[in-house]
Symmetry: C2
Subunit: 215 residues, 2 copies
């Protein structure tokens, strides 16, 4: 498999964690989201991913090379094709809680801090893009911390890593980047610290990717 | 089950379609998103859904009343608890394509036309909220139409209704509301017309809900 992705993209990061947890090797193909106006807008990349987002997973199905985008759709695919270790609980209600937490980040926070959105906030409205992001992240993390209480153990869903942790960890990195005070989020930073002890999370970290330009 | 929801909310609408398709009865509990500053912000509602969004599904699991939010997490839950009729294809790759299309709407378009976002665009930046929405919808539908080509039949995934159709139909209503020209989206409006012939879609339509205030 090939993963078209970008070091700091939280959606890319989620898929890297899942691939690592499942022990699946992949080729890292960097897509620079800023250089030359953004490589994701090239004709070649749009043919793989018409939404021009990262990540895109290249895989082979039925003897044909195929492309999948949308990080949660990719996580579900990996879970179905490579069920072990499971990254969703077994019980339907627990699975729903897990997916709910994952979506709280995936649709509730991340789309509002997306590069294309920030470019319009800054360019069109001369707005403070960092404050814009911080507002949505703070609001989302408050809800996440309230919602995770029902199931939290070492990780978001008891003592097993799941989609919820995979979405939470890159979002907390984004929170710091946009200046959010993580003081009130003790439950979340405790879970983050537990994840940070796992080699799969360490290897997926933004700053360790081949295209990383850490501050 | 009870569904806390709002007639025009596209995320609420998705869950109504799925409940109808699966023949599951539910009590309709309206949550007025605008009146009195928004009923979703009340303390009582926040206890059910800390993100203060609609819909919230109230259900019973293990003899306890529970609450689920995030429409795609709810759809997955309904699919697992009530598998027939299936709203996801059987094959893992086809399921991934289906979820990818659903996410293209769920995380790629809808979060940017959310009421709370429009309030900031209009209030803080004095921006044109309708034009803001139209931009993201147009961009997302262009990608959706390109991506759906691989699988489109009568519906998004061949000739069986799926999550992708459930997300597409309410989004097209939103597109018209925000002034998007749907002329270029012939494939999508053809699928929409096929869905509109199904009683489950008809009964879930925004304008037919008890709290509807159609234009």
């Amino acid at each position: 498999m090939k993963l078209y992705n970008y070091w700091r993209s939280s959606c890319s990061w989620r898929v890297r964690i899942a691939l690592n947890l499942k022990g699946l090797a992949y080729e890292y193909v960097p897509v620079h989201l800023v250089k030359d106006g953004g490589e994701q807008h090239s004709e070649a990349y749009r043919a793989l991913n018409p939404m021009r987002t990262v990540p895109t997973l290249e895989l082979t199905e039925g003897g044909r090379v195929r492309h999948l985008s949308q990080s949660l759709a990719i996580l579900e695919y990996l879970e179905e094709r490579h069920p072990s270790p499971a990254l969703l609980p077994a019980d339907p209600y627990a699975r729903a809680r897990c997916r709910m937490l994952a979506e709280l980040v995936n649709s509730g926070i991340q789309p509002l801090q997306n590069l294309s959105v920030l470019q319009r906030i800054k360019g069109e409205f001369k707005g403070d893009d960092k404050a814009w992001c911080a507002y949505w992240i703070d609001r989302g993390l408050t809800a996440f911390q309230a919602a995770v209480q029902e199931t939290a153990g070492t990780y978001c869903l008891g003592d097993t890593v799941s989609f919820a942790d995979i979405c939470l960890v890159p979002q907390l990195y984004g929170a710091r980047r946009f200046g959010v005070d993580l003081g009130p989020y003790e439950v979340l930073t405790r879970i983050e610290a537990a994840c940070a002890r796992l080699p799969a999370f360490q290897a997926a970290h933004a700053d360790r990717q081949p295209d990383a330009v850490p501050a």
